[in-house]
Amino acid sequence: MDVKALIIILMSSVLVDNYVLNRFLGICPFLGVSKKVNQSVGMGAAVIFVMLVATAVTWPIQTFILNPLNMGYMQTIAFILIIATLVQFIEIFLKKVIPALHKSLGVYLPLITTNCAVLGVTINNITDGYNFLESMISSLGVGLGFLLAMVLFSGMRSRIEESEVPESFKGLPVTLVAASFISMAFFGFAGIVENILA
């Protein structure tokens, strides 16, 4: 396996093709749970965890069950049910086995069921024709990208909370404008990956 190709997949999904800031997947938790840095880290960690587990389950299901049966059209239904079930299982498991981890991640888990970034990354891994390892790396990268965006943005938000904002901009509008700036900053990463490794 070409390590370089894996690094490129990882780096581009963290920086260049950031799901939140470039593809707009997972915007809801990005805007909803990014008020404080510790929440952002918790949410980000939970997303990475769920993405990895979801990919580890959905990729074999697509490759070894749906494709041979010619039932590619069941992809969306199968994946969303798998993700929803997985999240439930993970929550129950964490609660029973690692209560400490459940305490820090648990509250974010149910929110992830309808996080389109998780469904998005599992589907994209299939459409992009990644093998299992590449899929896992890509999911890790997407999750890390999500965490990075969340943490950076929570820093930005704590500044906004303290500033005077026009009445109609209070709340969500100014948050979106701020998100626009951070998305613009991520534009600077375009093309960087090939150049770094060249």
């Binding site: 070409d2 190709a5 490129i8 997949i9 581009s12 260049v16 039932m71 059209y73 069941m74 239904i77 992009d128 024709g129 093309g191 960087i192 990956v193 090939e194 150049n195 490794l197 060249a198």
Partner: protein
């Protein structure tokens, strides 16, 4: 409990119903989607060959085409369109290339890729009109050498495919495959597995020696006019290839020398003035030296004579030189290097280091890599230190 079962049943029923509905829709739409894909593909074929007319898929099993070719179509105007896969920065760069009946590229597009810079999106335009003998001259895009280089390679494969489809024959083997084929023919007993040998004896007219991994003999590469001649020798030193008598005698002599050759390591710790670049010295029974040196390439190079400085260079170039006791290079090889890819890394290329073969202290400085001054200087210093080491060991310095 009853509720529990009811829940499961209703969820199962709903999933079953939805599956049936989906299967029905799929039954209706799947042929249309397939037809669309076909139409889209034909349209894509027209992009690279606007006056191609109708296209017929080529039965790939009928021809031996380059490995990169995924699909090929012949156009009603006599040309062909080839779909290829190339590995640039990422895997699976899919390229479609049209070649007309005269062997000119009519167009090339990148259908999908995992490249990061986007150079592949427009690079195809620069290749329009290229022929098999001009395609190499078209410049790659600097900063995206990997992408555009792979692109060019794919287009070259497409041009070769056009020749093959037109009934011509092209050697589509890579240099490695050609070498492997030649070796296998020269010594069938070698089972196709050979390792290049480092020559540390003076052998006349021999440019390379390969030993069979199963120890069934050696293959000598010698010149016969302009062509390289591969001569197999079995484990008893007898030539097994069909060659002229003079060549046979020469190679049998060479084989005798090679088979008798034995290296003994020389202890260099006793020589105070031995250059720090010299890592290891061995001696053959015939009195030749094999000197292993390291030299610093890119990352240093102050003054004319580059000195190895462990503080400046993280990765030296490791060189192995075989030399007669009177200071003539028998063979030279780059063992390991970490120079700039595409520039200094040329020093790992056999075409580069074999230039040193036969050189002595008066003329070894003629060899250089253009565009890689530091690598050249470092390499030159490394080889120079080998000469110095031999002089010290022979007691003439």
């Amino acid at each position: 409990m009853k509720n529990y079962i009811k829940s499961i049943i209703s969820l199962t029923v709903i999933i079953a119903l939805v599956t049936v509905a989906l299967a029905a829709t799929n039954y209706v739409t799947a042929p249309i989607i397939e037809k669309n894909a076909g139409a889209a593909a034909n349209e894509a074929l027209l992009v690279v060959m606007p006056d191609g007319g109708d296209f017929t898929p080529v039965d790939m099993t009928q021809y031996t085409l380059p490995e990169s070719v995924l699909e090929a179509y012949t156009a009603s105007n006599g040309g062909c369109v080839v779909k290829l896969s190339a590995t640039g920065y990422g895997p699976d760069m899919i390229i479609m290339c049209g070649v007309d009946a005269d062997g000119n590229v009519t167009g090339a597009v990148c259908l999908s890729s995992n490249e990061t810079l986007g150079a592949e999106k427009t690079y195809g335009d620069t290749l329009k009109g290229a022929k098999i003998d001009t395609v190499e001259d078209i410049a790659t895009v600097s900063g995206a050498t990997m992408t555009t280089g792979a692109y060019k390679g794919a287009v070259k494969d497409a041009l070769n495919t056009a020749i093959i489809l037109g009934g011509g024959s092209v050697d589509i083997r890579t240099p490695e495959q050609i070498l492997a084929d030649n070796l296998a023919v020269a010594l069938p007993a070698g089972d196709g597995k050979f390792t290049s040998m480092f020559i540390c004896e003076v052998l006349e007219n021999v440019s390379a020696v390969y030993s069979a991994d199963n120890e069934k003999g050696l293959v000598f590469v010698t010149k016969s006019g302009e062509e390289d001649l591969f001569v197999g020798v079995d484990e008893n030193g007898a030539v097994v290839s069909n060659v002229p008598d003079d060549v046979k005698t020469n190679i049998e002599n060479a084989a005798k020398i090679m088979m008798a050759s034995k290296l003994t390591e020389v202890d260099i710790s006793g020589y105070d003035n031995m250059p720090a670049n010299v890592d290891k010295v061995s001696k053959t029974e015939s009195g030749n030296y094999v000197i292993e040196v390291h030299a610093s390439g890119w990352g240093m190079g102050i003054g004319d004579e580059a000195q190895y400085d462990p503080n400046l260079s993280n990765e030296p170039i490791y060189i192995k030189v075989a030399m007669t006791k009177d200071g003539k290079i028998i063979s030279c090889i780059t063992v390991k290097q970490a120079e700039t890819e595409g520039l200094g890394s040329v020093c790992a290329n056999p075409d580069f280091y074999t230039q040193y073969n036969g050189k002595d202290e008066t003329n070894y400085k003629d060899i250089a890599i253009s565009g890689a001054t530091f690598t050249t200087k470092g390499y030159r210093t490394g080889v120079g230190k080998a000469f110095e080491a031999v002089k010290i060991l022979e007691g003439v310095a």
